[in-house]
Structures are given as structure tokens and as C-alpha cells.
């Protein structure tokens, strides 16, 4: 028990860093995802096709491969041309999480916009609204409640995937865990249990709120 007490502050710090990673990356992913969704549903191929390719490539490759590619591969290439250095795990980690999740969020945005019936748009346009007004006053308010459950779901996935950032020595919960497991390798189980409890404490409340909201929404629809 004393071991747990000893490492608890470090673990809490790690959990805090995990949360910071997610709370910074997720809004970025949302912004980028919205941009991708708008691009993808554009009639101009110059926008829609690159977005489609980007989304398929990101969703078709594991995030750990993307981490290695960007941090070790691209980082090294950028460094020799003096363009940028990606040696900070914060920057690289947040960038990777945001880029990876943008591809998933764009799909949620697209599904959300598709879930508002086209007749609504037609009605709005025939009432003289501009397409911008239609988007912000008609489509978006109806789409947002439906998009929240998948967003929360993806946020929990991001919380879990941020553990993979420990391979680039980010200072989040899992790398703290690995450090302490390495230091006292004779009794790893309490350390793992502590990390798992901390992850559950972060993920479960969000997931319960999301499910409650989902049930309410399903009843309302």
C-alpha cells in the first residue's frame, strides 16, 4: 500500500497531463473535422477529393504508425531542412491526436448534417434565407444534439489512445506507469491497478453522462 501512496502524486500528475492532451487536442480535432466535412461535401473536386483521400488514409492506418511516421520520420526530415523540430512530445502528441481524430470527427459532422432532412434546407431557402443562414439557423441547431453522443464516444477513445503517446515519451499517465514499473519491477500489479483505476475514473463518468443523454435524446426523437 505504501508503494501506491508513494507513486500516487506522480500518477495524478500523469492523469492531469493525459487530460490536458485530450482537452487541447479534441477541440482542434473538431475544428479540423468540421473543415474536412465541409470540404468533403463540396461540389468542387479540388476540395472534396483531397479531404476524402486524407480521411481514408488516416482511418486506414493505425495511430501508432502515424505517431512514428510523424515524430521520427517527418520530424527528422523537417529537422535537416531546418523547417521545424518535432522533438517536443507535447506539440507532436497534440498534433497527432488532433489530425487522427479530425478524420473521425469529420465523419460524425457529415452524418449529423445528413441527418437533417433535405426538405428543411429547401424550405429555408424558399423562405429567402441565404445558404449561410440556413446552415447556422436551421441545419446546425438540429444536427448538434445528434452529434454529441458520437463526439463523447470519440473523446473517450481519444482518452484511451493518448496512452499510445507514451512511445514518444510524452509525460502522460501510461509513461509514468511504465517508468515506475521499470523502477520497481518486483511488484507491478499494484501500479497497473492504480493506472487502470485512474483511467476508469476519467472515462466512466463521461460515458455514463453520455449514455444518460443518449437515452433522453432517443426518447425525445
Amino acid at each position: 500500500m505504501s508503494l501506491v501512496q508513494q507513486v500516487l502524486p506522480a500518477f495524478l500528475l500523469g492523469a492531469r497531463n493525459t487530460l490536458i492532451y485530450c482537452f487541447v487536442s479534441f477541440p482542434l480535432a473538431l475544428l479540423l473535422g468540421l473543415l474536412l466535412a465541409v470540404m468533403r461535401s463540396s461540389r468542387i473536386v479540388w476540395f472534396s477529393s483531397p479531404a476524402k483521400i486524407f480521411i481514408e488514409v488516416i482511418r486506414g492506418t493505425p495511430i501508432i504508425v502515424q505517431i512514428f511516421l510523424i515524430y521520427y520520420g517527418l520530424g527528422a526530415v523537417l529537422a535537416i531542412y531546418n523547417l521545424a523540430t518535432l522533438d517536443n512530445a507535447w506539440t507532436a502528441g497534440i498534433a497527432i491526436l488532433a489530425i487522427n481524430y479530425a478524420a473521425y470527427e469529420s465523419e460524425v459532422f457529415r452524418a449529423g448534417f445528413l441527418s437533417v432532412e433535405h426538405g428543411q434546407t429547401e424550405a429555408a431557402l424558399s423562405l429567402g434565407m441565404t445558404s449561410g443562414q440556413n446552415f447556422f439557423r436551421i441545419v446546425l441547431p438540429q444536427a448538434i444534439p445528434l452529434m454529441i453522443p458520437p463526439f463523447v464516444n470519440d473523446f473517450i477513445y481519444m482518452l484511451k489512445d493518448s496512452a499510445i503517446l507514451s512511445v514518444i515519451s510524452a509525460t502522460e499517465l501510461t509513461s509514468v506507469l511504465q517508468y515506475y514499473v521499470f523502477r520497481n519491477s518486483s511488484q507491478p500489479i499494484p501500479l497497473y491497478a492504480l493506472a487502470i483505476v485512474l483511467y476508469l475514473l476519467m472515462a466512466l463518468p463521461i460515458s455514463y453522462v453520455a449514455r444518460w443523454y443518449e437515452r433522453r435524446l432517443r426518447a425525445a426523437l
Binding site: 461535401s41 461540389r43 521520427y72 526530415v77 453522443p149 514499473v181 476508469l200
Partner: protein, 320 residues
Amino acid sequence: MQQTQTITTVEPRTRSWLPVINALYYVVLAIALLGFGYYLYLNLSLITLYLPFLLQAAALTIGISVVSMVLALIFGLIGALARLSRFALIRWIAIVYVEVVRGTPIFVQLLLWYYGIGYLLSKAGFDPYTIAFNIMTVFQSNSFVPLLFSAFFYGILGLSFNYGAYLTEVFRTGIESVDKGQTEAALSLGLNSRQSMRHIVLPQAIRITIPPFTNYFITLIQDSALLSVLGVTELEETMGSFAYPLIDPNQKLFVFILGAMVYLAICYPLSLLARFLEGRFARAYRTSGEKIDVLRADMLDSDMLGKQVVSFAEDEGESE
């Protein structure tokens, strides 16, 4: 006097530059693809050197994924049946299993299986490698046992244990989505509860579970890359072991890109297949209203949802 009146109605055509601009895009895309091909050609020596090994590793990745998925299927079925059990204790065990596994990163679970539980069990005398070695010694072929057998064992166990929890929810949702009236009708026709499950409920539930199932299979393939932290020589680990010693950053980046392309070559056809299956099974709708209902139901189903590698409901919604 004859009056000829030729009325030619010429619609004033709005000249649209869109097709021209779009056509131009394909020219640029073709040039970009050619450029990428040239980039590959420049690194042809690296390709001929590494690609055979990468493909071997890819075969191992696929093998690990298939074995894990089959085991996960078993875990998931047991979990779903336990979840729907009449006994509260069994139900609660299943709930704890699902919640704990889905609330924690698979990365941490894999570390726990190999470096935590595996380490303790090997100290207690249970070592998968030694056991497999001894068994194969009886058959006089112990050289077939790979040195990393323990990592394989715990890696596959961890993957299938994790995905079993997700599939538990998928199967449970599938079974619960079959109308209660069906079971009642089957029971009133004289089928017993096992028969009604086997012949009535499951065939209908499976239709609904196939699209999320393929989705989870693709994410499983992607998550099998995490086995590289256990030292399993699958695609990710092989790719890294080739890339790290390279000094030239351009070559290093190229090896990573090559590995990512192999992953894409595995996952993209599967996601196309999943989209096809999704169109084929489960989601039959005729009107756009039904389509929207299905879309909404999909978005509200976070238990089944997972990380959506396959698009929500129907794809190619561009044709309006």
C-alpha cells in the same frame, strides 16, 4: 402569303466552369500520383530490400488479427450470454468486465498482460513458452516454437480479451434489437427457449451485428500494431526495426511511409467490404426518411458504435 415562323428556343445556358475546373483537378491528381510513383521509384532499392520482409510481417499481422478476432468472438458471445443471464451475479461479472475493459486503454491492458500478469505467472511457474516448448519436444519439433511465444500468447490474449468486451455489447445490442414478440411467438408455437434463440433470435441478430463486427475487425488489425511494444515482430515492429538504424532521414521517412502503405493496403479493401456488407445487411431502407432514421439510430448507439472506421450508415450521400 405564307408565313414561316421558325421558333427556336435557345435556353440561355449558364456557362459553368465547374466541370472544367474539376477536370483540371484530375490532371493535377494524375501528376501528383505520377510524382508519388517517381518518389517510390527513387527509393526502389529500399523497396526491394525491405518490402518482402514487410509483407511477411503483414501476413503475421493478419494471422494475429484473425486468431484474436476468433477468440474475441468467443469472449464476446460468452459475455453477451452472461450479460443477458437470469443470475444477477453472472450479469454483474459481465458488466464489470465490459466497463473495465472499455474504460481503459488497450495499450495499458497489453502491458498489464505481458509485463504484469505474465511476469507474475512466469515467476509462479507458468510460462507459455516453456510449456509450448515442452509439448513440441514430445513431437520432436520444438524448433517451431518461436522465441517470443510468450509475447504472442499474451498479446493475442490481451487483444481478444479487449475486443471481447466490445463485441459483448455488439451482440447484446443485436440480440435485444430483435423484437420481443418474435421470441413470444416462437415460444407459443412450441419451440423451447434454446430453439427460439438458435432459430429465431440469433439469425436476425447476426444481420445487425455484421457491420459493427467488420468495423471492429479493422480497428483490431490497427490495434495489433500495439503488440510491437511487447516485441512481437509484426508489421509495426518490423518497420521500426528497419527504420531506426537508417541514418538518412529521407530513407527513414520512406520506410515509415512504406509500412503505412502496407497497413492501408490491408485496411482499405476491408473497409470497402464493410461498406458493401453494410449496404447488404441490416440497413434496408427505401425512402430518404428511413435513411435518416437509420442514420440517427446509428449515431445514438454508442454501445455498438466503437471508433467508426467505416462511415456512418450509408456512404456516397453526395448524389442527392
